[in-house]
C-alpha cells in the first residue's frame, strides 16, 4: 500500500473550523514522516474531489473531519462524502479515522464488511467544549485542546507506524490523562465540568476491523 494519506477538513461552522485547524498538526506530522498528503480542505471537501482523489492517489489512510451521522460522513456544507449506500467501496483496503459524530455506529461496521482494514471513530456525537473568544485561534484554545489533542492521537499514532488498536488505545489513554488531571483538588469546579464530555468521547471511541493493521 502507498505511503499516502488523505484528509478531509471542511470549515463552514464553528465545529468544523475547530476540526479544520486541529487537523493541521496531523498533516504536518504526515509530511514529516514522508507521507504524501492529499488535503481536501474547505470547499475541496466535496464528493467529486473526494472520489477522484481517492481513486487517483490510493491512500492507505483516510482521516475524515466533519459532521456525520450513523450512516454518513459529510464534507463542506454537509455534502455527503461517504455513506452506507454511497462510495463505501472507496474505503476498501484502507485504515479510516472518522472524527465525526456517530459514524462508528453503522457506517463503521458496514465499511469493515465492505473491505476497510480498520475503522476508528465515535459511536455517539463527538462533543467538545471550547472558548468562543478563541474561535479565531482554535489551536490556542486550551479547553478545546483537552478534547482534540487526545483525538489527534489516533492519527498521529497511526502515522508513527503503530497498529490501529494501539492508536485507539493511546488516544483513550490521552483522554484519561486529561480526566485525571482535572480531577485534582486544585482544579476549579468550572474547569472540572468538562470531565463528563471527556469521558463521553473516550467511552464512545471505538476501533473496528483488523486491530493489527498499520500504515
Amino acid at each position: 500500500m502507498s505511503k499516502r494519506i488523505l484528509v478531509t477538513r471542511p470549515n463552514y461552522d464553528l465545529a468544523t473550523i475547530y476540526l479544520f485547524h486541529w487537523s493541521s498538526p496531523v498533516i504536518k506530522l504526515g509530511r514529516q514522516k514522508a507521507f504524501q498528503v492529499t488535503d481536501l480542505s474547505g470547499s475541496k471537501a466535496n464528493e467529486a474531489d473526494f472520489t477522484s482523489r481517492v481513486v487517483k492517489t490510493n491512500p492507505s489512510f483516510i482521516f475524515f473531519n466533519g459532521h456525520g451521522s450513523k450512516t454518513a460522513i459529510t464534507g463542506q456544507d454537509k455534502e455527503v462524502l461517504v455513506s452506507i449506500r454511497r462510495n463505501l467501496d472507496l474505503l476498501k483496503d484502507r485504515i479510516v479515522f472518522a472524527r465525526s459524530c456517530n459514524a462508528a455506529e453503522r457506517l463503521g461496521p458496514k465499511s469493515i464488511s465492505s473491505g476497510a482494514r480498520a475503522f476508528i471513530g465515535y459511536k455517539e456525537p463527538f462533543i467538545f467544549m471550547f472558548d468562543p473568544q478563541m474561535a479565531t485561534r482554535p489551536l490556542s484554545d486550551k479547553t478545546a485542546a483537552l478534547f482534540l489533542q487526545p483525538s489527534n492521537r489516533v492519527a498521529t499514532t497511526l502515522l508513527k507506524g503503530h497498529p490501529s488498536l494501539e492508536a485507539n488505545s493511546r488516544a483513550k489513554k490521552a483522554f484519561r490523562k486529561n480526566i485525571r488531571k482535572l480531577l485534582t483538588s486544585e482544579t476549579s469546579k468550572e474547569d472540572s465540568s468538562v470531565l463528563r464530555f471527556l469521558f463521553w468521547d473516550m467511552k464512545h471511541q471505538v476501533c473496528l476491523g483488523d486491530p493489527d493493521s498499520t500504515l
Binding site: A15, M129, S193, P211
Partner: protein, 95 residues
C-alpha cells in the same frame, strides 16, 4: 414471626418506592449539574450546533433531543463515577 416478616416486606417496598428516582428528578439533577458549566464557554454537539450553559439547561427543560443527550451524558458519567469506572477502560480495548 409471619407478622414480623410481612412488616419487613412492607418497609422494604416503601423504601424502594421512595428510592426510585422520577424522570423529573433526574432532569432536575442534570440541570443542577449543568449549572456548574462555565458561562463563557460553549459546547459543540456535532451538527446540532454549539450551545451555551443556559441553552443546554433550556434544552433539558424542554426535553428535546439535545436535552435527552445531555441527560445521557450526565448519567453515564455519574454511573461511572459511582462504580469507580472512570479509569477502568482496558488499555487495549477496542471499545
Amino acid at each position: 414471626m409471619v407478622k414480623k416478616k410481612n412488616a419487613k416486606n412492607k418497609i422494604n417496598k416503601f423504601v424502594s418506592r421512595k428510592l426510585k428516582i422520577t424522570d423529573a428528578e433526574i432532569r432536575r439533577l442534570v440541570i443542577e449539574r449543568l449549572k456548574t458549566l462555565p458561562s463563557g464557554k460553549q459546547i459543540s454537539i456535532g451538527d446540532k450546533g454549539s450551545f451555551t450553559k443556559n441553552e443546554l439547561i433550556n434544552r433539558v427543560e424542554l426535553g428535546d433531543d439535545i436535552g435527552k443527550k445531555m441527560i445521557e451524558v450526565e448519567l453515564e458519567f455519574l454511573r461511572a463515577l459511582k462504580k469507580g469506572k472512570l479509569f477502568d477502560e482496558q488499555e487495549n480495548s477496542r471499545n
